[in-house]
């Protein structure tokens, strides 16, 4: 089956410095890929490249087999949606208005949203369990609620792939679990491919099908969580000694700090 | 240098004549002043009018009349006086007006031992009197007396002629945009009155009020006088502007005139020329030689 998104030998530099080099990656339909790595390893850059915001100087990106450059901006937005780490709304919009923004790529220039758009928006909100927030102002929401709304907006784009940049960094434990649960069910029920960048090794190991460990802009290791999360890998990438065992409830790798 | 002059000033005894100026200050001079600094264009004009042009050693920026005055050293502008420059000219008398010249300047000059005489002519009569006062202070009282009586005669002649005539409503425009005019606390108002007119805006609270076009249309002045600093040009255009409003009597009867602002702005001898010009505008057919 054709990968939904594939990167071949992708390299990107800011001015003189290479942030990413030699990235080869294929994402399958319905797959959840977790991207791990210390700060500065190129995680956010990689996400932005997948979204088409940054153009790599080396290599090529294919979306469902077609070159990314062959897509118009608005068509690209129907394939890939991103939820960024920071979202500041300068002016006050209602939650529904925010989610309807996701319909932008589906509408013509002077066209107003119609029944179908409203329907998609409401369904997206209900998928993220945020439907009751529809009339509230985005500024009134808590961190977790806002995150769910933004994921709903991404869903409203009706993409094939959703990219999430540190979706749970500022959230309480309860909401961390909730978001990852949501991600999991979205990929299962709607066949979405999800790429999650996270600092939380345990959580990503728990919920992702595959993991990618980035170090200094290159892929250090990629594969099943058991293969990627090992003591030597973590030590090598994070420069920190750890103990890795199995989470007794789920059987996935669990990382513990030593001394 | 300033210290030297200050010592000199202190050393000079008050042995001469004492005059009282417009602020009630006592100003003492030893004999006729021969190095005079003028702090206003009107004062410069008066000095030259009295034949004292050679004694003038410093003038302010816009002292262009008579033309010779423009060649004299400049001591700053009416608003910003250069005290050091004044002191460096070693004047034995400085003459200034109440408006514009800051009191701090007067004090500084006094400290440097320089005598400062302030005049304050607020209307035409006082303008003529000022000629006499300055003449007296500068030691040319006789000549000043002759000149002032000549000026007074010209004024009286006009007053006699307009005495029996009706006073038309006059609108004096002193600025183009915004339209600005004068209230009764101005020398311009005095001119209108003496020239036999009625100032349309005499009761306005502000001295130089901005007025709307609608107000002029409503008041229906019979004569419009535009004060201008240049011949033709923008102010001629201003006159053309008025011609659109034919409901105003002044426009309908072709009585929109320009007057040289130099003749009516300054309390100098030329203000009598201004008075005559205005009288001719307001009451055409006046006999004056």
């Amino acid at each position: 089956m054709e990968p939904i998104l594939s990167l071949k030998d992708v390299g990107f530099r800011y001015d003189e410095i290479w942030a990413l080099r030699g990235i080869n990656l294929q994402i399958r339909t319905g797959e959840i890929l977790g991207i791990l790595g210390p700060n500065g390893s190129g995680k956010s850059t990689l996400l932005r490249i997948m979204d088409g915001i940054l153009i790599p100087q080396e290599g090529e990106i294919l979306i469902r087999g077609k070159h990314v450059s062959s897509f118009r901006r608005s068509s690209l937005a129907k394939e890939v949606a991103m939820v960024a780490q920071e979202n500041h709304f300068r002016f006050s919009f209602s939650v529904l208005e925010v989610v309807l923004m996701g319909r932008f790529p589906h509408l013509k220039r002077l066209q107003f949203e119609g029944e179908k758009d409203l329907d998609v928006a409401l369904r997206s909100l209900s998928a993220t369990h945020a439907l009751e927030l529809a009339e509230r102002s985005i500024h009134e929401l808590s961190g977790g609620e806002k995150q769910r709304v933004l994921i709903a907006r991404a869903l409203a784009q009706e993409p094939k792939t959703v990219l999430l940049d540190e979706p749970t960094s500022f959230l309480d434990l309860k909401y961390k679990r909730e978001i990852f649960h949501l991600i999991s069910s979205l990929s299962k029920n709607q066949g979405l491919s999800v790429v999650v960048v996270s600092h939380d090794i345990d959580l990503t190991a728990q919920y992702c099908h595959r993991l990618m460990l980035l170090k200094n802009g290159s892929i250090y290791e990629m594969g099943e969580p058991e293969k990627v999360i090992t003591e030597s890998n973590i030590q090598a990438v994070y420069d920190c000694p750890v103990l890795v065992d199995k989470n007794p409830a789920t059987g996935r790798p669990r990382v513990s700090l030593v001394g | 240098m300033i210290a030297f002059v200050m010592v000199l000033g202190w050393a000079t005894h008050s042995r001469g004549t004492t005059f009282k100026d417009a602020l009630g200050r006592e100003v003492t001079l030893n004999g006729e002043p021969s190095r005079i600094v003028s702090l206003a264009p009107s004062i410069t004009e008066i000095l030259y009018f009295l034949g004292l042009g050679e004694r003038v050693v410093g003038v302010t920026q816009f002292s262009y009349y008579p033309p010779e005055a423009a060649l004299k050293p400049k001591v700053g502008s009416y608003i910003e006086l250069n005290v050091e420059k004044i002191i460096s000219l070693f004047p034995d008398l400085v003459i200034g007006t109440v408006d514009g010249n800051k009191p701090g300047v007067v004090d500084l000059l006094n400290q440097a031992g320089i005598q400062v005489f302030i005049v304050n002519p607020r209307n035409v009569k006082q303008a003529i009197e000022t000629v006499g006062i300055i003449g007296q202070v500068c030691g040319v009282s006789k000549k000043a007396g002759l000149l002032t009586s000549r000026l007074n005669r010209r004024v009286t002649r006009i007053l006699e002629e307009i005495r029996t005539k009706e006073r038309p409503l006059v609108f004096l425009q002193i600025n183009l945009r915004p339209i600005m005019t004068v209230n009764k606390n101005t020398i311009h108002h005095d001119l209108i009155r003496l020239a036999g007119g009625r100032n349309m805006t005499q009761d306005e609270p502000i001295t130089y009020p901005r007025i709307s076009m609608e107000a002029v249309i409503r008041e229906r002045p019979e004569v419009i006088i535009i004060s201008s600093m240049e011949r033709g040009g923008r102010f001629e255009k201003a006159r053309q502007e008025w011609l659109k409003w034919r409901s105003i009597p002044a426009v309908k009867n072709n009585r929109v005139h320009l007057i040289d602002s130099d003749l009516i702005d300054r309390p100098s001898p030329r203000i009598i020329d201004g008075l005559e010009a205005m009288a001719r505008i307001i009451h055409p057919g006046l006999i004056m030689d």
Binding site: A77, F93, F104, F112, L122 | N175, E204, R210, R234, I248
Partner: protein, 351 residues
């Protein structure tokens, strides 16, 4: 969820913005604008009754009648100019606040105003007429500023908001100092004229000017309206907008350019009138929300109403004298702005 549930939800949740709603609210605003214009026609130094106005417009009054001249030659062109200027300033404010993602932006923030002011002051200094010379120089000054700002404010990565803002501030300061120089060295009647212009002066309105301004404003507003949804998304974040499919660079450049040109033109005829472009957009947002498809028409029409009221006050409050209209807008705007800062300040400072 089930279809039954979803249709229940559909009915209870407020519908998103529709064209009908935009049209409806805009019509109400337009009606209010006409009402304001009519009331302003009646008010003024010269007494003109409402009956006279009807007679004037139905042509039953002689050509020379003073009331007719006052209404048709002084008040009406002035009111129309105030409406057009208020409309433009407010529209400019909305666009700048959106594109620059800055609630404190007004249409003058990029320095177009000071460039235009410099041109106008120079024109006044040189003695040019207010029908041709001064507006031409003023517009030229504005154009020059736009070019400078665009050139200096653009980097490799395109037009970056904070850089462009900073450039605007610097240019403002530069031109202001030149203007101060002119003001401090001019002693004659030109000084009054300069100062009066700098505070805003709508009194010299001519139909010829209106014939130039009106179509430009109209066309510009249509153009800008087509970017309304782009603006919505841009306020949510430039990267967000980008990934949602907005051509952010193009939107920014085109909108900033169009607004700046309109500003340059409008300011060259009206002088500098502050607060309208800052306050009215916020009033619009507080009343009708931040969706620019509704905000643009509402705020623009609101700005027209606002300035007509301000100008009418300017010419009636101290009748027969006149206040500069910029003073009135400051009096109307400043207290409201303080109120805004108090209620929304915390929201805005979250950057």
């Amino acid at each position: 969820m089930t279809d039954d549930m979803s249709s229940k939800m559909n009915r209870s949740i407020k519908r998103p913005l529709t064209f009908a709603r935009v049209r409806g609210i805009s019509s109400v605003m337009f009606f209010l604008l006409l009402l304001t214009m009519i009331i302003s026609l009646v008010l003024g130094t010269a007494e003109v009754s409402f009956k006279q106005i009807i007679n004037i417009f139905s042509g039953t009054i002689p050509m020379d009648d003073p009331a007719r001249l006052v209404i048709l030659k002084i008040r009406l062109p002035r009111i129309i100019l105030a409406g057009l200027v208020g409309f433009s300033l407010s529209m400019g404010g909305v666009v700048f606040q959106a594109i620059l993602r800055n609630p404190l932006a007004d249409p003058f923030i990029l320095g177009v105003s000071s460039g235009s002011a410099f041109g106008a002051v120079l024109g006044i200094f040189l003695g040019f007429s207010f029908n041709l010379g001064v507006p031409v120089l003023s517009f030229g000054g504005g154009l020059l500023t736009i070019c400078l700002v665009m050139y200096l404010g653009s980097k490799k990565m395109g037009v970056e908001s904070s850089t462009i803002l900073l450039t605007g501030v610097i240019i403002n300061a530069f031109f202001t100092s030149i203007i101060m120089f002119f003001i401090s060295t001019t002693a004659d009647d030109r000084l009054h004229t300069m100062l009066f212009w700098l505070y805003g002066d709508l009194s010299q309105s001519r139909y010829g000017q209106l014939a130039i301004i009106a179509p430009v404003v109209f066309i510009a507003s249509i153009f800008l309206y087509s970017f309304a949804r782009d603006m919505n998304l841009i306020t949510a974040g430039e990267e967000t907008a980008l990934q949602l499919g907005v051509d952010v660079e193009r939107a920014k450049k085109v909108c900033l350019l169009i607004v700046s040109l309109v500003m340059g033109l409008v300011v060259s005829f009206s002088g500098l009138i502050g607060f309208v472009g800052l306050i009215v957009p916020h009033l619009g947002r507080m009343s009708f929300g931040s969706d620019h498809r509704l905000l643009i028409p509402v705020a623009s029409l609101g700005g027209a109403i606002f300035l007509i009221i301000a100008d009418t006050l300017a010419r009636t409050v101290v009748s027969p004298s006149e206040l500069p209209v910029g003073v009135i807008t400051a009096f109307m705007g400043a207290p409201f702005f303080i109120y805004l800062l108090k209620t929304k300040g915390s929201q805005w400072s979250r950057s």
